[in-house]
Symmetry: C2
Subunit: 310 residues, 2 copies
């Protein structure tokens, strides 16, 4: 799947992932109204609104980008109905040939990690049959529990040709509370990054490992260090746009081959119509606004990468 | 909710939580067969089997223990159908007046953590209505992202009178890879524990904070240190039984008031009928075996605590 992700990045010239993190407050009134008319102001109604919102954004952007990243929390908040729409969103994106990164940040140990891996990336056996419940292509995982937590995910990735992005340095202001603490003179995230590179070594696609890392856009100096520390690991970079990162800050997250990173924007794209810059589209054309914001983001990042080359 | 947990521990003399972590391999053949006959070898069929298994164990043990801990992964592996049974299990346990600790180990930042908190502990607003999707009483959360990740959960706990157990030192062999790394001469888990105690300070029940910590049973010396470091934090202690911990090793996880910790056993209870010691019950009476194993665990831990007093 890492090879597919790379091929699609090369084809689209867009090392960009759209974060499908819908909040009800992003969904335009006309969609909410229709959905509530059909299902009432219920969890089903909310989930249906989210689904219609997602679908229109996917329809208007799938040809521009290689990948999407639905955020599990935004679906779980609507309970079982929300998880239904999570699954439906994954399936629909895959129909559109998008690579789907499930931002689930799961992490546990042993048989429990195996169960998460089966549910999200692999298959579960029921009697003599097998099912792939949520069937994302990649997921994000939390490393705090160490190798016992990661290896069961890697085993499933190997089997299913899927991949992981392991949280190394997150984009939020307080990420430093634990991640930046010095261990033998180096911040913890470097140790986690180094370990992630080791986990990745035996699990290579054609040019990059399918065990990648999450490194936030909001700490460009960290990106530069991590890029060198884990040259074969793909970096998933959150924190662009709404959280403050810009294309010019991100060139060092990439290798000289122009690859090695994929930058996420969520709110900045899916709720673009709420920004002054894209307000002209109006709520009726929220998905066109998302497309315009995606194009602007691609131009920003691709421009910065081309500039860095020249 | 921490006060209810404590009152129930005092009433039952059982600082014990049953981990509802069902794997299909634990479910006796007669339940599987019935469920597959009704729903086929499908995810629904698997989920129904898990539900029947849980229900019988709950019916046979609810009067012995204050709390249960369903492990999200074991339900997510069966997709949406699994999550339905997760919700149904939470609801059924609450009908039986059990405190439910959702072992979800979620962790993200800002609005994403808020969404997880709403979905698992709080309420989500849909139009003018409010819903409590998975409605656990406590959940486990991962601290790797720092305060930005934890505070949104705490806000919901405060509002809803619920609680958290933050992963501090987990019970698995490789937990030390990152958790034990020395930061200014002290292992990282001590810093996380100290921070957890701080998070808990402003969020007190009558005698203990509703912001607790996960500290594994497999490292008794750590338990002793953490008990002192976070005197007002309740400790959720996994790793009893199947993972190796015993009652006598656990006395130092408790304060002198005999409180302050609750010990989890999952496989050791719910799959007790597969152990030699309880094999006499047979698969037909798996839930009686679970009850016997629960009684033995309570006797082991309560005995050790009484012994420590005397």
């Amino acid at each position: 799947m890492i090879d597919k992700l790379i091929a699609k990045i090369q084809k689209t010239h867009a090392p960009v992932v759209i974060g499908l993190d819908p909040m009800l407050s992003y969904v335009p009134e006309h969609i909410l109204k229709k959905s509530y008319q059909e299902f009432g102001e219920t969890l089903e109604g909310a989930a249906e609104a989210i689904w219609q919102f997602n679908k229109e954004i996917i329809d208007k952007t799938y040809d521009l980008v290689p990948a999407v990243k639905p955020q599990s929390a935004m679906y779980e908040q609507f309970g079982v109905s929300g998880m239904q729409v999570f699954e439906r969103t994954v399936a629909y994106c895959q129909e559109k040939d998008l690579v789907v990164i499930g931002d689930v940040k799961r992490g546990d140990i042993g048989s429990t990690s195996s169960a998460y891996a089966a549910g999200h990336l692999g298959k579960v056996k029921v009697g003599n049959k097998e099912y792939a419940p949520f069937h994302e292509d990649f997921i994000t995982v939390n490393p705090y529990l160490g190798s016992d937590g990661i290896n069961p995910f890697i085993d499933v990735c190997k089997e299913e040709k899927k991949g992981l992005f392991i949280l190394v340095k997150t984009s939020n202001p307080s990420s430093g509370e634990f991640q930046d603490r010095l261990v033998d003179g180096r911040p913890l995230y470097e140790w986690v990054g180094e370990q992630t590179a080791k986990w990745g070594e035996g699990h290579m696609g054609d040019t990059y490992s399918y065990i990648g890392a999450v490194v936030g856009a909001t700490y460009p100096q960290v990106g530069k260090v991590m890029r060198k520390l884990m040259p074969k690991s793909f970096l998933l970079v959150p924190g662009y746009g709404a959280q403050g990162g810009q294309g010019k800050d991100l060139v060092h997250y990439f290798n000289e081959d122009g690859l090695g990173a994929i930058v996420n924007s969520s709110r900045g794209i899916i709720a673009a119509y709420k920004q002054e810059q894209y307000a002209k589209f109006g709520p009726e054309h929220f998905a066109e606004a998302a497309r315009a914001a995606t194009e602007a983001m691609i131009a920003d990042i691709d421009g910065a990468l081309q500039g860095a080359k020249g």
